[in-house]
Symmetry: C2
Subunit: 421 residues, 2 copies
């Protein structure tokens, strides 16, 4: 059977230069989030197929890599449909497994539990440029904290981390599902239509207010309501004054505590932020996942279309596992996008150790090599990365390659002179 | 559908205390190996089913988690056997994917290529205490280096890393497949019987020389050969003198360069080692994997039955992908065993930052919380891990829990006195 050299369709081999950035970013993320009181945790990459197909994952449930039953449990002859054949799948996000984990271990965990997860997830998406079927996610979640302290800390920690990677002038856009709903209610949309309305609203940044209005009318919504709705968006300032305006305007449609909470999050983040960024109230922010119940937020960057991080409050998911609702709020970084942006910008991981290479002449005697091993040990103790390699026939080319790989010191070791190194 | 709280059979949720050790060990491994010139690389967790079932993996090929084809490619009605249903599987080791990776990218990689991989692998083993179906492997490999410099550096790097984790008095046992074969040839065993003979020899540490002799005789091997074979083992010192003895004794059965190479590896490692350990020539060392072609080695520890690391030379595997043999040698740490031993010994990751918690009274005004956010920022800048939590009704219990989690400073923040903190 011929062996295949390429990775499986849609997945990626990581070359050393990309891995250097990835290793650095992962370490920085962990170190930064831990200073905010988050603790690492992990779940298996394989999850029960029942949990993955429990309607928490929306469209991602269509993209699951499913795992065949094994041994006697696999009954190929009698299997009628796919579900007879599989008992597990690769996780498509880190949130559903987190809910299972918390349900399983709540008694062993601090309360509130501030979870930090970095791990791969898999989605059998149609392959396309820059998107892969295995990718890293990096989530922080606070479980068991009902107050807005959760949102504030998630935003402060995530933005501090982005600042440490030298990202500047990014924007945190924030909204609340309950504000979305209140605005729709105020404009006389029916509750059963909200999801459809929000899916169209979500296109605002692509098709503009006129485009949204047009699509809503085409869907059969009353022109009067649509005009009122779009007019309302036009009146809202993207800051706390916009929230105050809505609090007054929407009256009973919007709970005072929702508006006050949002105002409090924005003003606290403004006051306590650790690096330069903007936080904007964005009433058009929707975020697709159906599990969000309150605040939703996203990080956007000028030089990158689309968000690089997103999250929100999902107070109802853990109850699906435990029968008892637990407040929950999370923020997920688009790790692959961050790494891609850093690679494109030629980012160099700071604090990289000096690299030194010893080239050994082929006829170098054993005493010579022992001497080099000894010198290399001293170099490492002095904080250097040390490579010992046999000298090649084309020494010039070999040295050029090493220089390109960042070796700034290259020592040639010859049989007749190694004792002078 | 009822959601399941437990992880899938045989796999494990990682709790925060274990994750703290794992994060630390992973970072230490990466930092240490990089000072030896190794570079990180990664392959997808999903591998082509053809590559996984190519006879490189021995018994592990029976333990593959297989992945169902998706979309139109899955033809359930016409599928006759398992192989009609699957196109991928979860990797059961990091070596087969490394060979594919090298075949795919050799032109983009330095030569020799010193690879460092840390990643999960999956085997559908019968669940048993302390063994899991998903576990971390940590491999270093040197591809394209035919000289024993490869073995020497792999052993020095791996032992230096174990030393940094405070492991002491461990032993590197080393042998060579060609010495195994030469001894069998010298005692008149037939080449086609070698594998069977070595499987029995491998039980030496469990059933002793007498047990091995008995089993060999029961298998029908001539008593004379068996006695000569076992007698030979009795004469070998576990050091370079044992190798010199064999070099003389086995005559033409053993190539001089094999014996000299082994002697050179042992004496170089002795001379250049960075921490205290023994290196022993062990002519009974077999190692199961069929892909080894030369040197084989293992790390054993007095307080742990079984090996904590193992590896060897496999000069023929990469040629299976490329059609051209490439010298290759690797060393794999039993990451899960290392972590288990550290946990059992109550190991504390050094350099852990100070942990400080602020407890906020519920009626703390907004100015109070802003002040705490400001103080927390200063604490983090000063290198502390900071937790901000709302005060619970049972404050005494809450403080005990925080102390148990390592919070040495706990600051209570009240509405009437927060400005004095």
């Amino acid at each position: 059977m011929a062996l295949k050299k390429k990775p499986v369709t849609g997945m990626k081999d990581m070359l050393p230069n990309e891995m250097e950035i990835r290793d650095y970013v992962i370490h920085l993320i962990k170190e930064t989030y831990k200073t905010y009181g988050f603790t690492s945790m992990e779940t298996p990459c394989v999850e029960h197929i029942e949990n993955l197909c429990s309607k928490q994952g929306g469209d991602n449930e269509k993209l699951i890599f499913k795992i065949l039953k094994r041994g006697d449990k696999l009954k190929l002859e009698t299997a009628k449909e796919e579900s007879d054949l599989v008992d597990g799948g690769l996780r498509y996000d880190l949130t559903v497994p987190l809910a299972r984990y918390y349900a399983n271990h709540a008694n062993e965990l601090p309360s509130p539990f501030k979870a930090l997860q970095i791990g791969s997830v898999w989605r059998a998406d149609r392959p396309q440029r820059g998107r892969f079927r295995q990718f890293m996610q990096c989530d922080i979640d606070i479980l068991g904290e009902e107050s807005n302290l959760a949102e504030i800390e998630l935003i402060l920690a995530t933005t501090a981390m982005l600042g440490k990677l030298n990202f500047k002038n990014f924007t945190v856009n924030i909204n609340d599902r309950n504000i979305l709903k209140a605005m729709a209610a105020y404009c006389k949309f029916q509750e059963e239509d909200y999801d459809e309305v929000f899916i169209i609203l979500d296109k605002m940044d692509k098709i503009g207010a006129e485009g949204v209005a047009k699509e809503l009318c085409e869907m059969g919504y009353e022109r009067e309501n649509v005009e009122k709705y779009l007019g309302l968006f036009g009146e809202i300032h993207p800051d706390v004054s916009g929230i105050r305006f809505l609090k007054e305007k929407l009256g009973d449609c919007l709970k005072a505590e929702t508006a006050e909470g949002m105002e409090w999050i924005i003003s606290s983040v403004e006051a306590a932020k650790e690096c330069e960024f903007h936080i904007k109230f964005d009433p058009t922010l929707v975020r697709g996942q159906s599990y969000y119940t309150g605040t939703i937020f996203e990080v956007s960057m000028d030089d990158f279309g689309g968000s690089v991080a997103g999250g929100g409050r999902y107070d109802k998911m853990i109850g699906k596992f435990t029968g008892q609702d637990t407040p929950a709020c999370g923020f997920s970084i688009g790790f692959e996008r961050i790494v891609m942006l850093l690679l494109e910008n030629g980012y160099q991981a700071p604090g990289n150790k000096k690299k030194k290479a010893y080239l050994l002449e082929k006829k170098l005697p054993k005493e010579g090599m022992l001497r080099i091993l000894e010198l290399a040990k001293a170099d490492r103790d002095a904080g250097k990365k040390v490579l010992i390699v046999n000298m090649k026939k084309n020494k010039k080319f070999q040295k050029e390659q090493l220089a390109a790989d960042g070796y700034t010191e290259i020592i040639e070791c010859y049989a007749d002179s190694y004792d002078k190194i």
